[in-house]
Symmetry: C2
Subunit: 131 residues, 2 copies
DNA sequence: GTAATTGCAAATCCTTTGCAACCAC
DNA sequence: GTGGTTGCAAAGGATTTGCAATTAC
C-alpha cells in the first residue's frame, strides 16, 4: 500500500475524530490541508483502509456510512434523533461466551453491540425523530 | 393508521420472511398479489411500520436496508460475504446489565448485537469479500 | 366527506466507476 | 519506468418527495 498525502491526511483526520465522521465529513476536514482532494478519493481510501483493517465502517440504519479508526474491540451508543455515535467500552459483554447457535451459523470474526436510544441532549428535546 | 391492501400484504410478506428482506425484495414478493403496488409505497409503508414499532430496520454497512418483523428482543448473525442475516437469540447478553457509561450518554431504548463473520456456506468458499 | 394513502415521475442522496494524468516506489 | 493512485465526470443504486387521483374510515 503506497503512502500518499491524501491517505495520510485522511487517516490522521479520522484518527483525531471522536465523532465517527462520514466520508463527506472527512473530506471537509482535510480540505484545508489538501484543497484539491476529491470526495471519491476519500471513499476509495476508506475502502482500502477497511480492507487493511485500519478502520471500521459503522453500520447505520439511515444516512451516510460512518467510520471509526479505533480498532480495539468496542461498542457504540447511537442516538436515534441526532445520529451521534459514541464509543462504549463494555467488558461484561465482551466476556460472554458466544452462544452455541453461532458455531452452526459459521465463523464469527467479531461481535459488536449497539445501544440505541436518545443521547442526553436529545432526551431533553421534545420530538424524537424516528429511527 | 389505516389498513390498506398494500400495508396488509407488505406486513404479511415480511412476517413470513426469515431472511430480513430489503424493500425491493418485499416489493418483488407482493407483486404477485398486488401487481400495481409501487416500490415507493413499500418504502413509505415500512417507514410507517417502523414508527409504530411493528418492524425493525436492521443496520447494515453496505447495500439496501433490511427489515425484520420479529419484534421480540433478538440479535443477528451477519455474513460479510453473502450478506445473509440470521436471527440469533442470546439471553446471556440480554441479561448483562447496561454499563455505567450508558446512563451518562442518554436514554437507551434497546440494545442489539451483531455477530459478524462468514456463514457456513461462505466459509467453504475461498475468497471472502470485504466488509 | 375528508384526511390519509397511493402511484407515478422526478429529484435527491450516497457511493461507485471509467479513464487519462500523475506520483510513490 | 511501472503499476498503483488520483481527480474529474458521469453513472449507478437506494431512498425520498411533490402532486393529483384514490381509498379507508
Amino acid at each position: 500500500m503506497k503512502l500518499t498525502h491524501q491517505r495520510l491526511e485522511i487517516y490522521k483526520a479520522l484518527a483525531a475524530s471522536l465523532d465517527h465522521p462520514s466520508a463527506e465529513d472527512l473530506h471537509r476536514r482535510i480540505r484545508g490541508r489538501l484543497p484539491t482532494v476529491s470526495l471519491d478519493t476519500v471513499y476509495r481510501t476508506l475502502d482500502t483502509f477497511e480492507q487493511h483493517t485500519l478502520v471500521n465502517k459503522v453500520p447505520v440504519v439511515k444516512g451516510p456510512a460512518r467510520y471509526d479508526a479505533g480498532m480495539h474491540p468496542h461498542h457504540h451508543c447511537v442516538c436515534a434523533r441526532c445520529r451521534k455515535i459514541e464509543d462504549l467500552d463494555w467488558q461484561a459483554v465482551d466476556a460472554v461466551e458466544l452462544p452455541s447457535g453461532s458455531q452452526e451459523w459459521g465463523h464469527v470474526t467479531n461481535r459488536f453491540v449497539q445501544l440505541y436510544g436518545l443521547c442526553s441532549s436529545c432526551s431533553k428535546a421534545e420530538q424524537p425523530a424516528t429511527v
